[in-house]
C-alpha cells in the first residue's frame, strides 16, 4: 500500500501553521490568540518529526529531531503556565481579555 510522502506531511504542517497564524491575526480574545500560538508550535513539531523520520541514521530515525520536539513541548508547557498567569493578572487589573480594549501601551 502506498505511504504518505514527506512532502504531504510538510504541506499539512504548513497548512496547520497558516491556520494558527490566521487565528492570531483575526481573533480578539487573548486566550484564543494564545491557543493559536500553541497550534503554530505544534505544526513546527510535525515538521521536525517528519524530517527526523526522513533522515535515517544507521537504519534508525534521526533522534536529534525528536529531542528538539521534546524540548519544544517542555518549553511550551512552561510558557503556557507563565502566560496564563499573566492573563489572569491582566484580567484582575482590567476585567477584560479583549485585545481591542487593552491599548495602554499604544502611543
Amino acid at each position: 500500500m502506498a505511504t504518505a510522502s514527506l512532502t504531504e506531511y510538510l504541506f499539512m504542517s504548513g497548512i496547520l501553521f497558516s491556520i494558527g497564524l490566521a487565528g492570531v491575526i483575526i481573533r480578539r480574545n487573548i486566550i484564543v490568540i494564545f491557543m493559536c500560538l500553541e497550534l503554530m508550535l505544534a505544526a513546527a513539531s510535525l515538521t521536525l518529526v517528519a524530517f527526523s523520520r526522513e533522515n535515517m541514521v544507521a537504519g534508525l530515525p534521526d533522534y536529534n529531531g525528536q529531542m528538539l520536539v521534546f524540548f519544544v513541548i517542555t518549553v511550551a508547557a512552561a510558557e503556557v503556565a507563565v502566560g496564563l498567569a499573566i492573563i489572569v493578572a491582566l484580567y484582575r487589573a482590567r476585567q477584560t481579555v479583549n485585545t481591542e480594549d487593552l491599548t495602554s501601551l499604544q502611543g
Binding site: 504531504e8 486566550i31 526522513e54 537504519g59
Partner: protein
C-alpha cells in the same frame, strides 16, 4: 503511514485547527484544539515517533488544554467577542496565511524530497548491527531491535541522558523558574496606600 489513513488524521487535525479559529465560544475553541492535537498525535505515531505522539497527548491534551479550559471557565468569558470584526483585519487574516500556503505549494511543486525509507523487521535487524559499541550487548535496545521492533522510548532515553544531559538539566531549571514565576504572578499584590 498508508495514504488514506494519513489523510483521515490530517483532516481531523486541520478541522480541529479551523474550529479553534472559527468558533466564537472560547470553550468550544479549546475543545476543538484537543481534537486537533489528537489528530496530530496520530500523525506522529504514523511517523514511527511513538514517544512524541504519547507526549503530545499527555502533555498537550492532558495538561495544557485542561489548564486553558480551567482559566477560560475561571474568567467566565462567555460574553466576550460580541463585537463585529473589522473588514481589514479579516482580510489580512485570510490573505497572509493564504499567501504562505500558496508559497509552500509552489515550493513543493518543484522540490524532490522523495519517499520515506521503510522501517520494517529486516531494516531494524540490520540497524542493530550498526549500533555504536557503547550500547551494551544485553541492553533492551539491542534485544528489541533483534526481535524486529523499534525501541523508540529506550533510544530516546539513551540519547537524552548521554548526549543531551546538559540541556535536560537546563530545562529542569527552566521549569523551576516558570513555577516560581507563576506563584509570584498569581499572588495578590498589596499596594501601599
Amino acid at each position: 503511514m498508508p495514504t488514506p489513513l494519513f489523510y483521515i488524521f490530517a483532516i481531523i487535525m486541520l478541522a480541529g485547527g479551523i474550529g479553534v479559529v472559527a468558533l466564537k465560544n472560547p470553550v468550544a475553541s479549546a475543545l476543538s484544539m484537543i481534537v486537533s492535537f489528537i489528530g496530530l498525535a496520530a500523525l506522529f505515531v504514523g511517523l514511527n515517533a511513538y514517544f512524541v505522539g504519547i507526549l503530545q497527548v499527555l502533555v498537550y491534551t492532558g495538561a495544557v488544554m485542561v489548564l486553558f479550559l480551567f482559566i477560560i471557565m475561571l474568567l467566565d468569558l462567555k460574553k466576550e467577542e460580541s463585537k463585529t470584526l473589522k473588514m481589514p483585519t479579516l482580510a489580512a487574516g485570510i490573505i497572509i496565511p493564504l499567501l504562505l500556503v500558496l508559497q509552500l505549494f509552489a515550493v513543493f511543486q518543484t522540490s524532490e524530497l522523495g519517499d520515506f525509507a521503510p522501517i520494517n523487521k529486516e531494516s531494524l535487524i540490520a540497524a542493530e548491527a550498526q549500533l555504536p559499541t557503547s550500547i551494551a550487548a544485553d541492553s533492551q535496545i539491542r534485544k528489541e531491535l533483534k526481535q524486529g521492533s523499534l525501541p523508540d522510548v529506550n533510544l530516546i532515553g539513551q540519547k537524552l541522558f548521554t548526549e543531551y544531559n546538559f540541556p535536560l538539566q537546563v530545562i529542569g531549571i527552566l521549569l523551576l523558574v516558570a513555577t516560581i514565576g507563576c506563584v509570584s504572578l498569581s499572588k495578590k499584590l498589596k499596594y501601599k496606600a
